[in-house]
Symmetry: C2
Subunit: 317 residues, 2 copies
């Protein structure tokens, strides 16, 4: 496989992709990253999912935690406490340098995709990392009480505690795919949906006009790795969001959300009984332990996803 394109959110995606990157030729991987979670903190533009992708593909993230930079400290953050009452968003000192660089470059008028490429290069990443769009799209979480919270406020500050009614991707309709995104989807030999939260990580990408259509027109197989295993989300608040839309907390629920897009799915061995249901929907299934908290496990799951894709290509999907 010479051209693999993944849509990606944060840690779940990065865990799969660090494995995928090791199994492919150096420049084979392109990652289209969610920017709906981006936020301004202390005047700095923070792009959590872009940085998580970059840091993990660079091998610079702490392998177990999967986000931020290994060996980082919080000296600046502690000093910011003097000026700001709340400092609920953790910004590491080393991480902060990335945000400073990005903020300055964006203010100078450079588009996000160029700035992202330069950051990736500076970290020695050879894969292509693309933001879904150069325009701002902001994910808002509407709670059952009717509040609309910016994603980081909901996710980090309130720790995903509020019951969710639905999500809004503000600005999506006016956004355009970043240069390179549609081509990367069109030219891919394999399209990957890593185990990201479909609501908060993948749907914001699909909400950018043009991207979903390009995926529907694909000739390459599209393989997802399930972010749900044994009746629970592998990480994060996905379970409650699935229940909120009346979908089962299982690969079936995920397949429903991605309706019409999936050719194959890597699911957890504990969900083996769901295989027939998925196959009835035309989705080829591979069973494996989908946990990826070590690099070894990441490579095992990545291998399974690539093997499934090769099978599907061989079968002429």
């Amino acid at each position: 496989l010479e051209r693999v394109t993944a849509l990606a959110g944060g840690v779940g995606a990065a865990r799969l992709l660090r494995g995928v990157a090791r199994l492919l030729p150096p420049r084979a991987l392109t990652v289209v990253v969610n920017t709906g979670d981006d936020e301004e903190f202390y005047g700095l533009r923070v792009c959590p999912d872009l940085d998580t992708a970059t840091y993990n593909l660079a091998g610079a993230a702490p392998p177990e935690r999967g986000w931020g930079l290994a060996g980082d400290s919080h000296r600046v953050l502690s000093a910011l406490g003097r000026f700001y009452r709340e400092a609920w968003f953790q910004l590491g000192d080393l991480d902060l340098a990335t945000h400073l660089f990005r903020t300055q470059a964006l203010r100078a008028g450079r588009p996000l995709h160029r700035v992202t490429a330069q950051i990736a290069r500076s970290f020695g990443v050879v894969a292509t990392i693309l933001p879904m769009s150069d325009q701002r799209v902001r994910t808002f979480v509407e709670t059952r009480r009717g509040e609309r919270l910016p994603f980081q406020e909901y996710f980090v500050h309130r720790r995903s505690r509020d019951p969710v009614r639905r999500l809004h991707y503000r600005g999506a309709r006016a956004a355009r795919p970043a240069p390179g995104v549609l081509t990367a989807i069109r030219r891919a030999e394999l399209l990957l949906l890593p185990p990201s939260n479909p609501f908060t990580s993948i749907r914001p990408i699909l909400a950018v006009p043009g991207i979903r259509g390009e995926l529907r027109r694909r000739r390459a197989p599209l393989v997802a790795v399930s972010p749900v295993a044994g009746g629970r989300a592998v990480r994060g608040p996905l379970g409650g969001m699935l229940r909120a839309v009346g979908a089962p907390v299982s690969p079936i629920g995920i397949a429903r959300l991605y309706r019409g897009l999936l050719d194959g799915m890597v699911i957890d061995s504990r969900d083996a009984r769901l295989r027939p249901q998925l196959e009835r929907r035309g989705i080829a299934v591979t069973l494996i332990d989908v946990e990826m908290d070590t690099m070894e496990k990441s490579m095992r799951v990545a291998r399974a996803a690539l093997a499934l894709a090769r099978e599907l290509r061989g079968a002429g999907t």
Copy 2:
């Protein structure tokens, strides 16, 4: 003395003022600070003289060095090296928090004098610290080779090595004194010129329309502490600048630069022989060791300056 107003540059001024602040009632001191040295680094607005005043009056600066924050580190700066070829301006991690706060507040539209007051309050400073102006004034150093260097480029990057022809205070004519500056000069019972470099620290302040006139109309005595002692500048590139304009590297040279402004001058004991010349110009003189590298010495010099002022007030200057 209930109302003392000082014009101030960086470390030289801060060394005197930390002593002065200890000898006066809590809110008696107002410092009007040079902002001609301000610069943007990594997209952050850095105001070296304002911060030097704040940090020293807060007791947060390392007492010997006199600038920056005690116990600071350079984690962010080291990480910025990944993105920027040159990182010649030292930004400490704790210091960076101040710049982040200021930059965000300025971008939000708050004027510099308000942001400065909030930073001072956050550091527990009770003295009033005022920028000379809310508008940008930028000091440029014209070298003998004809280059015009922004002050920090000349001072920090090139280490004041270039022979200086003259200085330019760009933007000064269009600037207005920050709110509070003229009142602080008008209402002062004593006006102080600490041992700052007249060219790079005090003249940018005097170049803001209205300030020099207000000083000329003063009824309170104006006392300077000499930044030159024993034929040399106490610190920094002042010696070469005096020579460049044909002035002697002595309190006489300083008095010439401040022509018409000085009522009294605290000079170094080594310059005792110059006393008659100064007195002939109508300047009352106190002799003392003007070095202030410890708090004790700062207080000794401060005491001498305040005593001279009281004498001059008693004499009805």
